[in-house]
Symmetry: C2
Subunit: 154 residues, 2 copies
């Protein structure tokens, strides 16, 4: 199905929330409260995204998180890279440049082409676009089964 992990979905929500007030420092608890995600999960996400440079953190009392750059500068590809590692439809195709035998290896060509296409699409969509989507997914029916935006039970 080639689907994103839940964590990435949540990550988008968290980033969308931070994007709403880019200048304001938000603690993990703030984010958890407003996104309705469980605190430990939000905490984990923020830590991950700090390490990968999507958000910046301030430690100590009154500490918290902020976006590392303008929302327009954060793409879907950035989020997925941060939370799932580099996009790579096959094992070796993610390591362009690392693979010494790239020009011998037939795998590169076709799957690589696909990878590039995917990445380009993911690069074009930025946080503001995603943020618009995040907060208004209504309950809907998927093949007869009623679903809602899936969030962490807590």
């Amino acid at each position: 199905m080639l689907k994103m992990s839940k964590l990435t979905d949540y990550g988008t929500m968290v980033l969308a929330f931070l994007a709403a007030n880019p200048t304001r420092m938000q603690s993990a608890s703030d984010v958890a409260r407003d996104t309705h995600l469980a605190l430990p999960t939000v905490s984990k996400l923020l830590k991950l995204m700090t390490r990968t440079g999507l958000v910046v953190s301030t430690r100590g009392a009154l500490g918290g998180y902020q976006l590392a750059r303008a929302p327009e500068e954060i793409s879907a590809a950035d989020v997925i890279d941060a939370l799932e590692g580099p996009v790579a439809i096959t094992q070796c195709s993610g390591s362009v440049g690392h693979c010494e035998l790239e020009d011998v290896c037939g795998v590169s060509s076709s799957w690589q082409k696909i990878n590039v296409a995917i990445r380009r699409a993911l690069d074009e969509v930025r946080l503001p676009h995603l943020a618009a989507a995040e907060f208004r997914m209504p309950p809907m029916n998927l093949m007869g089964i009623p679903i809602t935006q899936e969030t962490d039970r807590r």
Copy 2:
């Protein structure tokens, strides 16, 4: 990482093998022997791909499998659809047309755009391209770790 499942990888190998002799009927054992995959796995794959119409089967003694259509008519998207279900980066985005609230739901727009781009890329690559890749992946180094084309241990 957005990666394909192993099964899909194997599926490609199996199809590539069938594509080598499109007119010849191959039993599951034949395929297993020549692809170096475990028989039960190959069997499972072939059954799945038969049900989804990628290959046709003939039962009974002297039975076996053949491609359902010309190799050029089978795309990467077909293989993934058959073995992993429809490509859909988010939950609801796979059900275009089924979702009654599609025009209300903000999720459609951005992720949908990404989905379409991915699907187009997957549609363009056909079995002959993939087949060329399948049989000559040499041992290589991935970030210092020596790897080979991963196959089923059996």
